[in-house]
């Protein structure tokens, strides 16, 4: 089976979807001629023509808004916002229109669109190129929010997202584009070619939205993570020797409560890990859900390891980023509680 980077897997997903369905169109800033700032759309314009893969001006609001109109008439736009940090101008169209058209029209109109955006830090991008805004989407009813952590899932989830009949926010952890990253920034990058999940089948397949997966089975403590934090948590488990069960959520909304509950009831402990800031982060939701559903099985408080409640710093990136040390310390604390 071919090994692919996450960039190639994402490109492949759009390629496959465009081949299967003429309604799929791909556009965004630098997406057509240039092939995308992270190269995710390279070659698509040449293959499918500039009416199906094209450049948009730097107009995020316009990009998402026109995609809503296209989708309401039955197209399946898959648009790229160059960095998740640039989506704020488009937020109004995402929240007030994309997420709400189905409800407002009592189901007459639907918005089958995907907004792809690279998310997260680890590249010294400072505050305007490093944020993890997933909670700004999970808080909005009418949206689905997906965060893949590897090439195999990225392709399957993106095809599923494009085929989904509701608007999907597809957050791509940019630090994972070229290889799994466990937070040890001083070590060389492992390429996807050397990771099992870099194996990506040719052609069409889907990974269903709303289904989590256990990445590392364990008995001591459940770790709920997604994106880059899956690898950070794996490193923390290995380095502390704690037999953590690591769950990769893959889709944040709709979340896979069954998988979460089954694991926490088994381990009796739970740590939630994300890169985004702590307060009102998605970890707060997960923590509340675990408390509501597993209270009588818990042997320790549910703990969160997250980015700090500060803007994303430039120079002090690695003091902000929740790396394996921070996760490991919390794993130990939860085991000792």
């Amino acid at each position: 089976m071919p090994r692919r980077t996450m960039v190639e897997a994402i490109r492949d997903a759009m390629d496959v979807s465009m081949q299967r369905d003429d309604n799929v169109v791909v556009f965004g800033e630098d997406v057509g001629y240039f092939g995308g700032v992270f190269r995710c759309t390279q070659g698509l314009q040449r293959k499918f023509g500039s009416s199906r893969c094209f450049d948009a001006p730097i107009s995020e609001l316009g990009i998402v808004g026109t995609a809503v109109g296209m989708a309401a008439y039955g197209l399946r736009p898959c648009v790229e916002i160059q960095f998740a940090d640039y989506m704020y101008p488009a937020y109004d169209q995402i929240v007030s229109e994309a997420a709400r058209l189905r409800y407002r029209s009592a189901g007459q109109f639907t918005v089958p669109m995907v907004v792809r955006m690279p998310t997260g830090g680890g590249i010294f991008g400072g505050q305007t190129h490093s944020q993890s805004p997933e909670a700004l989407f999970t808080h909005v009813s009418g949206l689905k929010t997906v965060v893949p952590s590897n090439p195999y899932d990225a392709k399957g989830l993106l095809i599923a997202a494009i085929e989904d009949n509701d608007p999907v926010i597809f957050l791509e952890p940019k630090r994972l584009y070229n290889g799994p990253f466990d937070g040890h920034h001083d070590k060389p990058v492992t390429p996807w070619a050397r990771h099992a999940l870099g194996e990506v089948p040719e052609g069409h397949y889907t990974v269903p939205l709303g289904k989590a997966v256990v990445r590392r089975p364990g008995t001591a403590v459940t770790v709920l993570a997604y994106g880059t934090m899956v690898y950070v948590s794996e490193a923390a488990a290995a380095e502390t020797g704690i037999d953590a069960e690591i769950i990769d959520l893959r889709t944040l909304v709709p979340y896979d409560l069954d998988t979460i509950v089954a694991s926490v009831r088994k381990t009796g402990r739970c740590v939630v890990v994300h890169e985004a800031t702590l307060t009102s982060g998605f970890g707060a939701e997960l923590s509340a859900l675990v408390q509501e559903t597993c209270f009588y099985h818990l042997e320790a408080p549910v703990m969160r390891v997250t980015g700090w409640d500060t803007p994303y710093p430039h120079a002090q990136e690695w003091d902000y980023f929740p790396g394996p040390d921070r996760v490991g310390r919390t794993l130990k604390a939860v085991m000792e509680a």
């Binding site: 240039f34 700032v37 450049d55 640039y86 400072g126 505050q127 430039h314 120079a315």
Partner: protein, 351 residues
């Protein structure tokens, strides 16, 4: 208003026929322009080297090729009161504003001696003292802010203006036009300087703008616009003076489209496949703002070899000193992670 706009909206100086010679510029001013442009060029070259050595991380957008725009414009304002702000391609603007090259370079390297003490990096720097309001990483975001700065100046009854720079790509952001309408409606003293370097990242103006004459983009709000040879510092100065005077006279906003060119990639990792090497070489060879000025000065005997050498040496010394400072200034104090979030510093969350 609308009539005036229509009358003024044809380019008074076109890129194809640059204005030559201008009696209003003294030899001393020319030498100053030359020095200031050279400082930016050499500073940026050094920044590129430091990036290559891994001493600057993340993004770094060099201004090489565009020096005449900011140097010419700065000569038309009073830097003790007029505001300047721009995008992430901001190093040249800061040097032109008289900010300390040491502090700028040290922010690039993320050190405590940087203007934002390592919090901002290359794209996000400010100097209240020099009236520089940033360094903005979000494309177009500075445009309404620059408009608000003009409002505040007018409100206070100060006769000062706001120079609000943005790129050709940024000219497609919706908020640019919301701001322009307000500026025209409220007659705000803001000069919108569109640095048209032909590309926004890897996308040419033709691929992104329905109307490629960007000086016309204020027309529907009745804002006069001019297209200027942005590779000619004297042409920039002349147009800048008209625009700034317009603002000071209470006549409202003005658009200047500067035809310019960036020689380097968009940021440091740019495959450069969207334009030909020949195009870059042609611009560099035929239109370079520094070489052009040098030629003009030598021809008119505004400068001799010895003075050129002395300026060159001075600039090199400043840049070497800035680089030395930026690579020896200490890393930010760990406590800095928690400061400047709100007025009251947050208690540290870290154990």
């Amino acid at each position: 208003m609308a009539k005036a706009a229509a009358a003024k909206s044809k380019p008074s100086v076109s890129a194809e026929s640059p204005r030559t010679g201008d009696n209003s510029v003294t030899p001393e001013q020319l030498r100053q322009f030359y020095r200031d442009m050279l400082l930016i060029r050499r500073f940026e070259e050094r920044a590129g080297q430091l990036y290559g050595m891994g001493l600057i991380g993340g993004f770094c957008h060099l201004y090489i090729g565009q020096e005449a725009v900011v140097v010419g414009m700065q000569s038309t304002i009073d830097s003790s009161k007029d505001a300047v702000l721009t995008s992430y391609r901001d190093h040249g603007h800061m040097l032109a504003c008289g900010m300390d090259p040491r502090g700028v370079m040290a922010e690039l390297t993320g050190r405590s001696g940087g203007y934002s003490r390592g919090k901002g990096g290359s794209m996000h720097m400010f100097s209240k003292e020099r009236n520089f309001y940033g360094g903005h990483g979000i494309v177009g975001a500075q445009v309404p802010i620059g408009t608000g700065l003009a409002f505040a100046r007018k409100y206070r009854g100060e006769n000062s203006v706001s120079l609000t720079y943005f790129g050709d790509g940024s000219a497609n952001q919706g908020q640019v036009y919301e701001a322009m309408n307000m500026a025209a409606l409220w007659k705000l003293p803001v000069v919108y300087i569109i640095e048209n370097n032909k590309y926004g990242m890897g996308t040419s103006v033709e691929r992104a703008s329905a109307v490629v004459d960007l000086y016309k983009h204020g027309q529907s709000f009745g804002i006069p616009g001019e297209q200027v040879d942005g590779m000619d510092v004297i042409a920039v100065k002349a147009a800048g003076e008209r625009a700034v005077e317009h603002g000071r006279a209470g006549k409202g906003p003005y658009v200047l489209e500067m035809l310019t060119y960036r020689y380097r990639g968009h940021s440091m990792s740019d495959p450069g496949k969207y334009r030909s090497k020949e195009e870059v070489e042609k611009m560099r060879g035929e239109r370079d703002p520094i070489e052009r000025l040098k030629k003009r000065m030598t021809e008119t005997k505004a400068i001799d070899e010895a003075r050129l050498k002395a300026l060159d040496a001075e600039v090199r010394r400043i840049v070497a000193d800035a680089a030395e400072f930026a690579t020896t200034s200490p890393e930010p104090d760990p406590k800095e992670l928690w400061t400047d979030v709100l007025v009251e510093s947050k208690p540290a969350q870290a154990a």
